[in-house]
């Protein structure tokens, strides 16, 4: 059916939903049926252009859609029913809001005549999701449904991307109306500024040209802006010879194998990255937002630097840290101007940067990611290093849960390309990684998709193993199993006198049997010298795998900027004695998260 026939055609609301998905280029929808979305499911049943992936819990649908979106750069779509369907989607919506991920969430609603009557499976979906979406709509008129869904895609994917919700009452799904195709004219009140102010870009180039101790600090905004932005970032680094660090969300925008890479920064970033941030004279922040995990104590944050901040969201600029040169715009567009102007007017004096690079080399020599190898037990860092060594030359995508394993993955798995690393950064959602891996695998059926997981996180959304088996999505769940909520325990050691309140899981499932129960494949490994073979087995199995990697139970994640401390007050692994850990955070810092 050509789209020409569909222009201004009469159809039911449910038909419009499916038509609008097709017209917005949607190939996959993650969802779970229920009473208030049955008409839409009936339409999905009668076509095969849009493939529906049935999850086991609506939270799984949301994270799968996030994984899909982060790995493709397109909007992720989820379809859930009213009431509990919508409330279960709230966690992924907030997760997507904090990490700027484009999601379109379609929710069923009780018929308009029953709204407000406490009907079965009714909830105030637009009210509940208002603070956790970029925008949301309740569609009461079938003639506005198509235009609303098109607008939803536009809002989700443009400007600073984010999640949106379209709430569709059941009677609107049955009602007949006129379908309109996607229009190019967006609403007048929503006009994100993408082109940066050229005068400001000039000022930035001038500042950068005179820098003796510069650092580029880039974030998820570069990934969100698209592959061209990452390309331009690399070009800028090559032209200037500046060192570059990225946030957790920004990993892969600049290759970890690149010579100017100083590692991730922030609470569990490298010593060299954080020290360079602290001591720099010019900081170029590109698509990052000076999050509290990044800055440490704000009053001591990079005290002697001039700061250039490029961001598409005006509320991110000057929020936590004052920008001397604020540039409002899409980082891709601004980088284009920046690179062009640098070529035209500035010349890199790479010699002038020698002392700075020498200093960085000294910090790097501290080897802040070092750990003590053990021949009897698998160290978690070692497990990630082996995983990296054995998968780096393949078409690999990595997702994670949240906790120590996530930080170890960020430190020891290295990314050379954008969109290969999917993790819950802002919200820190345990249970993100497994369903996200499912979403990534649906988008990239032939790729190797690995969820680096913790034993606690992975049990929060374990049910999606069943979805993975159903869709023959061979995701690999690589569990660093230490039987603890490791990061909770680490903080209890730091803050609460080593009283490990409820951070130990006394009853752990047999992950191998669990994998088999789901119809997947289970592997267990607890010996360092058997690890490589076990990982090879995991890679070669063509179905979902739960890999129970038994690691040293009491390992902690270092280096670390303890709460309330500055970049130059990092706790390094070789200094992290029990006593140092117990006294690392003072009374003020204890209140912080």
């Amino acid at each position: 059916m050509s789209s020409g026939q569909n222009e201004r055609r009469e159809m039911t609301g449910a038909e419009m939903v499916v038509q609008a998905l097709k017209d917005n280029g949607v190939k996959h929808v993650f969802g779970y049926p229920g009473g208030a979305v049955l008409p839409i499911y009936d339409e999905i049943f009668q076509q095969d252009e849009v493939e529906h992936i049935l999850v086991r819990h609506e939270q799984g649908a949301g994270h799968a859609a996030e994984g899909y979106a982060r790995s493709t750069g397109k909007a992720g779509v989820l379809l859930v029913t009213s009431g509990p369907g919508a409330t279960n989607a709230v966690t992924p919506l907030q997760d997507a809001l904090m990490d700027s991920i484009p999601l379109v969430c379609l929710t069923g609603q009780v018929p308009t005549s029953l709204i407000g009557s406490d009907a079965f499976q009714e909830c105030d979906t637009v009210g509940i999701t208002r603070p956790c979406t970029k925008h949301n709509w309740l569609v009461k008129d079938v003639n506005e449904l198509a235009a609303t869904i098109h607008e939803a895609f536009h809002v989700a994917t443009t400007g600073r991307p984010g999640p949106v919700v379209v709430d569709i009452p059941k009677d609107v799904q049955f009602a007949k109306g006129i379908y309109v195709p996607p229009q190019t004219a967006p609403r007048t009140s929503y006009q994100p500024k993408v082109q940066g102010d050229l005068e400001k870009v000039k000022a930035a180039v001038e500042l950068m040209a005179g820098a003796k101790k510069p650092i580029i600090y880039s974030g998820g905004g570069v990934i969100n802006s698209g592959p061209e932005a990452s390309h331009l970032l690399r070009e800028l680094v090559d032209l200037t010879g500046f060192p570059i660090t990225t946030t957790l969300m920004g990993l892969g925008a600049y290759p970890a194998s690149g010579k100017n890479w100083v590692g991730m920064l922030g609470m569990h970033g490298t010593y060299e990255a954080n020290m360079a941030m602290h001591d720099c004279d010019v900081m170029i922040c590109i698509g990052a937002r000076f999050d509290d995990r990044i800055t440490g104590r704000l009053t001591a944050f990079s005290p002697n630097s001039k700061k250039i901040h490029i961001d598409i969201d005006p509320s991110s600029i000057n929020k936590n840290v004052h920008a001397d040169v604020p540039i409002l715009g899409d980082v891709g567009r601004v980088l284009e101007d920046l690179v062009r102007l640098w070529r035209a007017t500035a010349k890199a004096d790479k010699k002038a940067l020698y002392p700075w690079w020498e200093q960085i080399a000294k910090w790097r020599a501290r080897d802040s990611l070092a750990y003590k190898m053990n021949n009897d037990v698998i160290m978690p860092q070692y497990a990630i290093q082996r995983l990296y060594a054995l998968t780096k030359d393949m078409d690999t995508y990595i997702t994670t849960e949240v906790g120590q394993h996530q930080m170890w993955a960020a430190q020891h798995y290295h990314f050379d390309k954008p969109n290969r690393w999917m993790t819950s950064g802002g919200l820190g959602t345990m249970g993100y990684g497994l369903p996200a891996a499912l979403g990534v695998q649906i988008a990239h059926p032939d790729a190797l998709v690995i969820d680096i997981a913790g034993d606690a996180s992975v049990q929060m959304t374990m049910q999606e193993m069943s979805s993975a088996v159903q869709y023959e999505a061979p995701i690999k769940i690589f569990i660093l199993n230490n039987q603890y909520m490791g990061m909770v325990r680490q903080w209890q050691q730091l803050l609460h006198g080593n009283r490990l309140s409820h951070s130990y899981t006394e009853a752990m499932p047999d992950f191998v049997k669990l994998a088999e129960a789901y119809g997947g494949h289970g592997i267990r490994c607890d010996k360092p010298d058997e690890l490589d073979d076990a990982i090879r087995e995991m890679i070669s199995v063509k179905k979902p795998v739960l890999f129970d990697c038994r690691v040293a139970t009491l390992a902690n994640c270092f280096p670390m900027i303890p709460s309330g401390k500055a970049h130059n007050e990092m706790l390094l692994p070789d200094e992290a004695t029990d006593e140092a850990v117990a006294n690392a955070i003072d009374a003020k810092g204890r209140e912080l998260v």
């Binding site: 603070p131 925008h135 609403r187 704000l298 005006p314 000057n318 936590n320 004052h322 003020k588």
Partner: protein, 190 residues
């Protein structure tokens, strides 16, 4: 020191406040659609900002535009954040900090007016005194019988405060006040 400080937002803002809070009046032009007010006030409660007064009404019927006037209090840095956060709301067209604008125009503050309905019941001297004072304040009587008046008074908030305080001993029964309606002096629009 480069770091800016604000009371809310992040757990890391533990250092002492150095900027002084100010009261500002914001004008927010929005599409008049369901939920738009909830988005605006939800932003204030969700991010820990203050609302001292709020006035909302459709101002351009054909374009479905409403104007929301908010009086809020915060440090200059927080006020700038509020403006930018409001601008992120999809149906918001424009946000103008009228107080900042009035300073740019070389004025002390924008024009601000409130309206109050004040019901006063009584007989005898108190009743005569209430009417006399209302006249002095240019309040008009919009309802009355032999035992009560309802006065309508407009003006600056301080004038209304004063009027209400004076009416208290004269048989004040009930007060209803609007929020602030505000615009800047001069020929330019917002």
């Amino acid at each position: 020191m480069n770091a800016q400080l604000q009371p809310t937002g992040s757990a890391y803002f533990i250092a002492k406040e150095t900027e002084k809070p100010e009261t500002h009046t914001l004008s927010v032009l929005v599409d008049n659609e369901p939920g738009v007010l909830a988005r605006v006030i939800g932003l204030f409660s969700g991010r820990g900002y203050n609302i001292e007064s709020l006035t909302v009404s459709e101002t351009e019927h054909e374009k479905h535009l409403s104007r929301i006037t908010i009086v809020t209090r915060g440090t200059p840095h927080v006020l700038e954040q509020i403006k930018h956060q409001l601008e992120r709301i999809v149906p918001v067209h424009r946000v103008v900090d009228l107080t900042v604008r009035s300073h740019e125009l070389g004025q002390e503050r924008p024009l601000e007016r409130e309206l109050a309905l004040v019901k006063v019941a009584g007989t005898g001297d108190a009743r005569v005194e209430a009417l006399r004072l209302a006249d002095a304040f240019r309040a008009s009587v919009i309802d009355a019988n032999t035992e009560h008046f309802i006065f309508e008074i407009t003006g600056k908030g301080s004038k209304l405060d004063q009027f209400i305080a004076i009416m208290k001993p004269l048989g004040l029964v009930e007060i209803c006040r609007t929020g602030v309606a505000a615009m800047n002096r001069g020929p330019q629009g917002m």
